[in-house]
């Protein structure tokens, strides 16, 4: 399953980069994220509570950040499993200047398995897009906020 999206942040690239990689902000902005704990450099243990249609459940897994090219590009690796099945995905995030704003482009590929695939496959693309949209909207807010405070 491929998910693509582009989001404009009203903040300069350096600041967006910081926001995107700040664990506290990430946890606050990630829909359903109950825990994001560093277990090593750029490695986190995460607990996510997500519902797709009737399949709601808690996923425990790992989030890792790799191939960092600040402030332009990084890879986000996610894997988790729970009662409703498992999720595994990889996203490439690219940051580009857009005047005094920043355009963040996400190219993600995710696999789901178990019950979640069997009953939610029709809906999962839509849900994932919605969640990604939500995530970036919150991040964009956070970037604005952190900009004001700076």
């Amino acid at each position: 399953m491929k998910i693509e999206g582009a989001y404009t942040f009203e903040a300069p690239r350096e600041r967006v980069w910081k926001v995107l990689l700040d664990p506290d902000t990430l946890q606050r902005c990630m829909p359903g994220c109950e825990k994001l704990e560093a277990i090593g450099p750029d490695q986190y243990e995460a607990t996510l509570k997500i519902g797709v249609a009737a399949v709601k459940g808690t996923y425990m897994g790992k989030v890792a950040i790799a191939d960092k090219e600040p402030p332009a590009r990084y890879r986000l690796l996610v894997e988790g499993s729970g009662a409703p099945g498992w999720v595994k995905g990889e996203a490439v995030m690219e940051l580009a200047d857009q005047g005094d704003k920043t355009l963040v482009t996400m190219t993600a590929d995710a696999q789901v398995g178990g019950l979640i695939a069997g009953v939610g496959q029709r809906l999962i693309g839509g849900v994932a897009k919605m969640m990604a949209g939500d995530f970036f909207k919150r991040l964009a807010e956070a970037a604005k906020f952190s900009g004001g405070a700076a």
């Binding site: 499993s81 009662a83 696999q111 398995g113 178990g114 019950l115 695939a117 069997g118 009953v119 496959q121």
Partner: protein, 816 residues
């Protein structure tokens, strides 16, 4: 059969079903209603991976949940049971639960046993399984390739079974042909979705060692010894009980036996009775389904449409394990591989291939819908390539009435029929010539209007010998080879002291009306009202006389089941007449039964009521004729003399009675939406003597709608990673009353010389023709666009894409 004339008063009539009052008023008693004291409930944890090694299972957290009694894991199953026996000797170990690897999404990995289902399900979420995901393989042909991920490493390949069957001189047929016509056809994996899913209760008595398993199993009872060996419970200590009410099976419930075994193990581990009721998600994910097949078919034909010979390469996807009775989908049709046609030369290259999908098994029409999708599509392809009418090609090749009984090159013995008459009737009913004119007009208006035909043999009552064709003739020739052959079915009739009649069936009905038909037959045979007959359909292996072949499958009841019932009734009648002859001082030959009395033919005044004869047999045993046993009862096991083992040339009479189906269908395709509309559906059946026209009509409707599911809607779809995509009825689309076409049903009646009443099976019916006939009609509709139909289901999105691609091709062609 011995001539014994019976005045039929009920047989042949649309007698209302005895089962319906209780079913329609909610008084049926299904598995879920059944309770055993101290019973606990099971929830099954299933693999979310298509292919994964199981490194460990941690049950500690689950066992802490209040109300949880035990958790059964792969280690327990490996220790407490043996792998199921299989039709072929290969190093594949199939247990009731994954012990080393999970090989399909939904495969059981652990069973939690708790005080109720809620607790069991919650605790199942806490079982931690350490999986090592492995690369899956989903596609049949890819699974056959060298280097494909192996499901069972010990086997060294994913091919569970391979046979090359050759009948006649195929090479000569192909060298003499004017033309070779070819096609590759993909038949999808779909199911039956019975209203009631799988259900099991198991109880183990450690004192007597008796294991009792209640379930909605439908037979064949060959699974009794299979489960006995898997559990290590000797057969006299293993009791299967099947309630009289069973919410549909269609073959799918033949494959419940791994769950019967699993819940039996759970009961043993928990030390008390355990119940498991499958939910719909589980059913769609991991119960059973029909077999998907890729068929590469080619025919050697003469210019006039005569088929000289056929070569087929059938590649079946049997799922993660070769679960008995698979690879039967490849061989159940061995005797009727030529369908309804006369060609003598045939080659079948048959492969059963394992891939990371749920295991397959019998599904209404088992093997036939797969076979006929290939053959009937090819016959239309022949007509197209030779520029002949598909009806003409069929008439050219159909077996003729005067050739009956007909021995096929692969050993099938077609007992009776008039196939050309069946096709003529179908064409007449649909007004074929007028319809072709209408099609010409529709095409002139740019509409996509098509007509499809299918003519097939409808085999019933399999001879279990067919499964041994999976073994090489050399293997079968070994002195220690255990042959299987036969089709027997049992029935018991008894008359109690006041003259009322009880009939015991072992046919595990699933809604087909066996009780009604049995009561009709016994009432006719004994000349009594149906009200005086009580039929008991609950099956109990401990108290009934049964055999390996007992059960409901391959449309057995109307053919062998009714023959057993009628034979048992006749045996009892024989005794009644002997007692009456003794009482009336007459000879048996002069006596007959009617209106609850035995009377002397020609002098109706000289009579004795059945009640009085029953009284003598039970109450006044001393008055019976010298040497006669007291009581009035008979048990029979009816078998066909035609159910023999295969010969060294792999010829086998794989069924015993063979009916016929001719169908003609008109469809229109909406070029803008890809939607298929069925304009007319004519279906003509020959199931021999029709016992109850209303029930036959119900079976025909059911068969068509079932086949329509495979043709247009249903597919147990997997993604390329082996993830299952259709675990709800929103994803797995079943046709409902809204999608059902109005049928015009016709009959040709060619009584079987082999059954007592002349009847043949009719339960599988059009489920084997509908996928083919719809595909033929849709291809005909899309012919102006040059589109071939080689796969199912024909969903609107596929049709729409094909139409668009064809138009683009045409556009490019025009521009170039």
């Amino acid at each position: 059969m011995a001539e014994q004339k019976v005045e039929a008063r009920f047989v042949g009539q649309s007698v209302k079903r005895l089962e319906d009052p209780r079913l329609l008023t909610g008084r049926g008693a299904f598995m879920d209603e059944l309770r055993v004291s101290n019973m606990l409930h099971a929830a099954i944890l299933r693999s979310p991976h298509a292919h994964a090694r199981i490194r460990g299972v941690d049950t500690a957290e689950a066992l802490k949940v209040p109300g949880v009694r035990a958790v059964l894991t792969g280690e327990d199953v490996r220790r407490m049971s043996r792998p199921f026996s299989m039709a072929v000797q290969i190093p594949v170990r199939y247990y009731s639960l994954a012990v080393d690897k999970a090989r399909f999404v939904g495969e059981p990995v652990a069973v939690v046993i708790a005080k109720d289902r809620y607790v069991a399900e919650d605790a199942a979420d806490l079982v931690q399984v350490d999986y090592e995901p492995l690369p899956p393989v989903v596609d049949i042909e890819k699974a056959m390739e060298p280097g494909a991920p192996l499901l069972h490493e010990e086997l060294g390949s994913n091919i569970a079974n391979h046979r090359l069957l050759r009948y006649g001189d195929v090479d000569r047929a192909f060298s003499e042909a004017d033309r070779i016509v070819r096609g590759t056809y993909h038949f999808p994996k779909y199911s039956s979705t019975p209203l009631e899913g799988f259900a099991v209760i198991a109880n183990f008595d450690p004192i007597t060692g008796l294991m009792t398993i209640w379930s909605n199993f439908q037979g064949p009872f060959i699974m009794h010894p299979v489960v006995s060996m898997a559990l290590g419970v000797p057969e006299h200590k293993l009791r299967f009980i099947v309630p009289a009410d069973n919410g549909g099976g269609f073959g799918i419930k033949s494959s419940i036996y791994p769950y019967m075994t699993l819940i039996a193990l759970a009961a043993r581990k928990a030390g008390c009775p355990v119940k498991w009721i499958e939910d719909r998600k589980e059913h769609l994910l991991a119960s059973s389904s029909g077999t998907d097949r890729v068929a590469v078919v080619e025919a050697a034909v003469k210019r006039d449409g005569t088929i000289l010979g056929v070569r087929m390469k059938n590649m079946d996807g049997v799922g993660g394990y070769l679960r008995t009775p698979e690879p039967a989908c490849l061989f159940r049709t061995t005797g009727n591989s030529v369908g309804a046609y006369r060609y003598q030369h045939l080659e079948i290259d048959a492969y059963a291939v394992m891939a990371n999908k749920s295991p397959t098994g019998p599904n209404r029409g088992y093997g036939c819908q797969q076979l006929y999708f290939g053959i009937e599509r090819l016959v239309d392809q022949i007509a197209k390539e030779l520029n002949l009418d598909p009806a003409e090609v069929r008439f050219q090749n159909l077996i003729r009435k005067e050739e009956m009984p007909y021995l096929t090159p692969s050993g099938g013995l077609y007992d009776s029929g008039d196939y050309p008459e069946g096709l003529r009737k179908a064409l007449e009913m649909i007004e074929y010539d007028k319809l072709r004119q209408e099609q010409r007009r529709a095409r002139a208006e740019g509409r996509l209007f098509g007509i499809g035909l299918a003519t097939v043999v409808d085999p019933s009552v399999t001879n279990m010998a067919y499964i041994t064709v999976a073994n090489e003739p050399e293997e079968r020739a070994r002195p220690d080879y255990n042959f299987k052959a036969g089709s027997g079915e049992t029935a018991a009739v008894k008359i109690d002291p006041l003259g009322k009649v009880s009939v015991a069936l072992n046919t595990t009905p699933e809604g087909q009306g066996h009780e009604t038909i049995a009561a009709m037959i016994v009432a006719d045979e004994l000349g009594i009202p149906m009200d005086d007959v009580q039929v008991l359909a609950e099956m109990d292996t401990a108290t009934r006389v049964w055999s390996i072949t007992t059960g409901t499958y391959s449309s057995r009841f109307a053919s062998v089941g009714t023959s057993a019932v009628a034979t048992a009734a006749r045996k009892v009648k024989e005794k009644i007449l002997k007692i009456a002859a003794h009482e009336l001082e007459a000879t048996v030959e002069d006596l007959d039964m009617r209106e609850g009395k035995v009377f002397v033919r020609g002098s109706p005044g000289k009579a004795i009521p059945l009640k009085r004869i029953a009284g003598i047999a039970h109450w006044n045993q001393a008055r019976l004729p010298e040497g006669m046993e007291p009581g009035l009862h008979a048990t029979t096991m009816f078998n066909f003399p035609t159910a023999k083992p295969p010969d060294q040339q792999d010829r086998v009479n794989s069924s015993n009675t063979y009916g016929f189906i001719a169908e003609a269908v008109a469809v229109e395709v909406d070029p803008e939406t890809g939607e298929i509309q069925i304009k007319k559906y004519v279906t003509v059946h020959d199931c021999g003597t029709i016992l109850n026209p209303m029930i036959v009509e119900g079976q025909v409707y059911g068969g068509v709608v079932h086949g329509l599911g495979g043709a247009l809607y249903e597919e147990m779809a997997y993604d390329e990673n082996g993830q299952y995509l259709a675990a709800t009825f929103m994803d797995y689309l079943c046709p409902t009353a809204m999608e059902s076409p109005k049928l015009e049903i016709g009959h040709v009646v060619s009584p079987s010389p082999l059954t007592v009443l002349g009847s043949k099976g009719c339960g599988e019916s059009s489920s084997m023709t509908t996928p083919a006939v719809i595909a033929n009609a849709v291809e005909d509709a899309l012919a102006p666009l040059g589109i071939s139909i080689n796969e199912l289901p024909l969903t609107p999105d596929k049709i729409w894409r094909w139409i668009r691609a064809a138009r683009e091709r045409a556009g490019r062609g025009g521009a170039g």
